[in-house]
């Protein structure tokens, strides 16, 4: 294993063995395992799988150094379908298991695949702790706003009022906004993507993989069986443009089609609002907001996450936050490495013997 340059930013894949330059480019096929895919027809998971299988070769990593860890849920079957190393664990625990793996093996590219129930319900604690620690791994959170595998109970991202098997009179739980939650948990990389927008998804996946630290990517995913059409208004061409807010670093935050475009401004009170492009130009209604995911202070990213509403009037997509902070696993390894180096290299039998004897021995002849 190689040492890490602590100068920032460092790629998340910095210490993962890459294919030699001269090697043949990998193909999607190589990343496809021989296992039959067992999702329902029409499930959004297929689309994400295809995107990931197509994108992984782009990283140019040795396939054997990629590991997918998942919890339990329809989405968590993901690892079986990729010809990498994979661990389909138990409900909610993938971030913890991945933390152990990523920290002890810096030469691996570690991915977590999880669902809204897996990550935010039973696994909420591991998720927020992975984020604050900033362990070098990428978490793909497939949000279908429902428990798929257990046949349709509401999840922590389900709308208030949603009628499901366990809420025949409508859900009364106020949902999490996964992006806000992640930002409150000190996340260094947070993004959101649509399953159906392959190009954008791929761009985000790439940035996430490159990010050194925990990257959380929320992916809206349709479950045609138990929550069909949850994101229909965002997929529907006629409504899409008016609802999706595409976050682009360095650019203004806008919504709406050419001609009918609105721009996000910040009023003196700090409140953000979309106003028509023309109005914005006057500057009277407030300062036009430029998106900068690299701000140290997560407050603006947080404020953007609040544009989202249960009615999905304005749903930001893209990278909310992307900042450098030392990663937990690097720091843990650095401490061990420093201790070993200071002592002049790995402990041999002699040093172990010394340790066993301790500082206070006596001898019986």
């Amino acid at each position: 294993m190689t040492t890490i340059d602590v100068g920032m930013p460092v790629s998340g894949l910095r210490s993962v063995p890459h294919l030699p330059q001269e090697a043949a480019k990998q193909t999607k096929r190589e990343f496809t395992s021989d296992q039959e895919v067992r999702w329902c027809p029409g499930c959004g998971d297929y689309v994400i799988l295809a995107a990931v299988q197509a994108f992984l070769p782009e990283l140019g990593l040795k396939r054997e150094n990629i590991v997918f860890v998942s919890g339990i849920g329809c989405s968590s079957r993901f690892p079986y379908y990729l010809d990498t190393y994979g661990l389909h664990s138990i409900h909610g625990r993938a971030p913890a298991i991945a933390t152990g793996l990523a920290t002890s093996r810096e030469d691996l590219s570690v991915w977590v695949v999880t669902g809204d129930g897996d990550a935010l319900s039973i696994g909420g604690n591991h998720l927020i702790h992975a984020l604050r620690r900033n362990v070098n791994m990428t978490i793909l959170l497939f949000n279908n706003q429902i428990y798929g595998l257990t046949k349709g109970q509401y999840s922590p991202t389900s709308r208030v009022g949603q009628v499901t098997k366990s809420t025949p009179a409508g859900s009364v739980d106020y949902p999490f906004n996964p992006v806000s939650l992640a930002l409150g948990a000190e996340a260094t990389f947070v993004a959101r993507a649509m399953e159906s927008d392959r190009a954008e998804l791929t761009t985000i996946l790439k940035a996430a993989a490159e990010h050194r630290g925990t990257a959380l990517v929320e992916i809206y995913q349709n479950c045609p069986i138990f929550n069909d059409g949850a994101f229909e208004v965002l997929k529907d061409r006629s409504q899409q443009e008016a609802r999706i807010v595409r976050l682009r670093s360095g650019e203004h935050v806008t919504v709406g089609a050419e001609g009918d475009r609105k721009v996000l401004v910040r009023k003196g009170s700090g409140v953000m609002k979309f106003i028509p492009e023309a109005e914005a130009a006057t500057g009277e209604s407030g300062a036009v907001v430029a998106h900068d995911p690299t701000l140290d202070d997560p407050s603006q990213a947080f404020q953007l996450s609040r544009l989202d509403t249960p009615e999905m009037t304005h749903v930001p997509m893209g990278i909310f936050r992307q900042v450098s902070r030392p990663t937990y696993d690097d720091l843990v390894r650095d401490q061990v490495r420093a201790a070993v180096d200071t002592a002049g290299g790995p402990a041999g039998d002699a040093e172990l013997g010394e340790l066993l004897r301790g500082r206070d021995t006596w001898t019986v002849e």
Binding site: P17, S33, Q35, K62, R63, E64, N65, I66, V67, V69, P79, Y80, L82, T84, Y85, G86, L87, H88, S89, I90, R93, A96, I97, A98, T99, G100, L101, A102, T103, S104, R105, L108, N125, H126, H129, V332, Q335, V336, A338, A339, V340, T342, A343, P346, A347, D349, A350, E351, L352, G353, L355, L356, R357, G358, D360, T361, W362, T363, V364, E365
Partner: protein
Amino acid sequence: MSSKTVQALDRVVIRFAGDSGDGMQLTGDRFTSDTAALGNDLSTLPNFPAEIRAPQGTLPGVSSFQLHFADHDVLTPGDAPDVLVAMNPAALKANLGDVPRGATIIVNTDEFTSRNLAKVGYTTNPVDDGTLESFHVHPVALTSITVEALAGFDGLTRKEKERAKNMFALGLLSWMYTRPTTGTEAFLTKKFGARPDILAANLAALRAGWNYGETTEDFASSFVVAPAKMPPGTYRNVTGNTALALGLVAAAHRASLPLVLGSYPITPASDILHALAALKRHGVTTLQAEDEIAGIGIALGASFGGAIGVTTTSGPGVALKSETIGLAVSLELPLIIVDVQRGGPSTGLPTKTEQADLLQAMFGRNGESPVPIIAPRTPADCFSAAMDAVRIATTYRTPVFLLSDGYLANGSEPWSVPSVEELPDLHVAFASEPNATDPKGEPVFHPFLRDEETLARPWAVPGTPGLEHRIGGIEKADVTGNISYDPDNHDLMTRLRQAKIDGISVPHLEVDDPAGDARVLVLGWGSTYGPIAAATRVVRNSGRSVARAHLRHLNPFPANLGDVLRSYDRVVVPEMNLGQLAMLLRAEFLVDARSHTSVRGLPFSTVELADVISTTLEELS
């Protein structure tokens, strides 16, 4: 050194007792070190409340440390103290019941104020109201003499001076039992290096205590306890937690694998985390997790990656880890689960000992999920038990339970330090290439193709080209490891997992039956070793025969266990629970094993067990 008479003794039990803030654990530790250095055999029993520092002077705040040392081999920390040092009325009241008539009691009279007496319900002063008339009482104004001795230390407050009174007590006891104080002096120098005034004060108090014994008339003579005849070797004193941590490090060293600990603090296991966290120089990685579930998850992730994954906890933490242990059983990956048992159920008695997690370790998971169990018998034995656990985990690719307990964890004894080369070789081979061919003749890797002898599956770690594979907690097809809901496959896999654990190679149980004519066998496991051995010694010394055996492997049992049990007329099983091992023995061997149980948060006393054995012998005759 001393001008007074010196008497030789063969054994002594001393108990230091005081307020949680009085430094009794430290005093006991130091006395132990100095005693060990002198070559006595010894055994210790710390005992403290769950609160960090309960209100001063109250019964719940009493903390004590008992040390048994002798010129022969010591098996237990001793039933009853020969000397009790009581730093305040609460300490006296809480401990008096354990002190046999005729024993020596040193009381710190300064603390026997009416306010302090009232706090624990004494209406008159027991030091002079006759309560202690059957004891040799030494009333010493410990606090004020210490403060006086430090009169010259102008930089210190009275409080700071008072705090040195434990060193005064240590000095006094060191004089009484002719212990050198050089070790303690070195220790203090290291500890208080940065505060020279405090250091000087402590050294002065220590010396003052020694001199007090030497000069005052109250102490007529001092004592010596000759070194024990112990096998040649280099010795150190270790607690169980330290020995266990060292055993894990040594095992990783001998396996040439990294050791990765994922743990969440919990009494009485936390010290293993602390010890390992300090061993980065030995390549040890420790991760303090957000909870027990993450702790074991981290360890399992590390195991998947090719490390020796370890998680350390106590009973309530095991309960939380159950689901993940089941996953490890299903994944068939090596993993060490250390359970330092404490009093239960629930939060129970966090700082006290108990053996009531055996059945949790055996059965505390959904489905049929067998896990091997190993239990060390003494503090020092935690070292080799830990190495053994790693051997089984890596050889058989299985989680392994290492069942220590609160008594072993904090108790200590001399340990003959092994040389590294003598330690077992624990190297394992990772899978490095395909192990089968597919119908087309192409090489493939089958993650659940088992070793014929051990039934272990290959350990193929990420990063190995060509062995990419996926595993999970859903039932897997034999050999290929693909998801399988096939009824017969599930039955097969369930039985294979069981057969693998049942087939673990475990040494035969050795029976200690010196006369060879015993009709009663006393069988124990874990930390009851000392009391059982001591009790059988007592019984044998009185001319009667009794056999004794101690189980290290609780799952699977040694192959000869059934024969051993059936060769005695009566089997007695003392346990600090309500009869958990007895239940397993009865079920497996249909032998009428008789439980003797005590759930008091304390080790058995020798006397109690000797009584049980005697009664049993009488019943049979």
